[in-house]
């Protein structure tokens, strides 16, 4: 089942994917999700991942202060990175002229990653995480 479009546009949904051997968490930030995201499987993942204990050190991307400022709260991204996910956020644009084309632009940037080559490895949950196709989103 898919999330309704208006729900996607009004919510900041945690979703997950695999791509080129890495496991990613992404915050949708009110953007449209790729077709591969199934709402039922995604909710199972959200629920089960809440209980996973983070065991990896967290490495923030160099530009997070420029994007979120000193007081931006990045704990949600850090939490998933500590569990072995490369954590992404959907990129926002400042210009008003881009506001009406946001649906067409699904660009994400890395906020936090697991250190020590950490990688989420729960095989049962990994089976629920879909594989991203090239071109579904752009990772900057």
């Amino acid at each position: 089942m898919k999330y309704r479009k208006v729900y996607q546009k009004t919510h900041d949904i945690d979703w997950f994917f695999r791509y080129q051997g890495n496991i990613y968490h992404a915050a949708s930030n009110g953007g449209i999700l790729p077709d591969l995201v199934d709402s039922e499987k995604n909710r199972i993942l959200q629920e089960n991942l809440e209980d996973v204990v983070g065991r990896f050190p967290v490495i923030f991307a160099d530009n997070v202060n420029d994007i979120y400022g000193q007081d931006g709260d990045l704990s949600s991204f850090a939490e998933y990175a500590s569990k072995g996910f490369i954590s992404l956020d959907r990129t926002e644009f400042d210009g008003e002229e881009e506001e009406e084309h946001m649906d067409d632009i699904q660009r994400y940037h890395i906020v936090a990653s697991p250190g020590n080559d950490g990688r989420f490895d729960n095989q049962e949950l990994l089976r629920l995480i879909p594989e991203l196709r090239a071109g579904d989103i752009i990772i900057e």
Partner: protein
Amino acid sequence: MATKKELERCVTNAIKVVRHRVKQSRQAHPQVKHKIKDYPAIIVACSYRSSKKVFWGQSESPVNHIYEDRLRKRLEGLAPIGTKRPGCDNTIGSCAEPHAADLVLKKAPRCNLNKLQFSRAYRPRTAKHKRYCRNCKDTFHEVL
């Protein structure tokens, strides 16, 4: 009268409430029927200038939501509720601002729309403030 500071305080508390709800929904006991929640994209606080009461609203679907009459007319002046119009990517009536204003107007029926005041709009996940969208600026053109 709620000051700007009180509006900001209300929305800061609302961010905590929203985060707690999301976490709680994901930690609920599996045997108990519960719904997994997602963060709303945006929340904002709103009050009426002569009142101390502050309400907060979040971005959500306008489908099946009955807006207070004057607010509904304002929104419909842009385009039918639940549709989009050129110049803004958001669906009419889906933003946190009309949802928060609706709570104020339903509690204070004599309140004028030009006497509303809003906090800044925030993304609860990061507590970072965001600019108001074109739909909201046009709906609440006297105050945003």
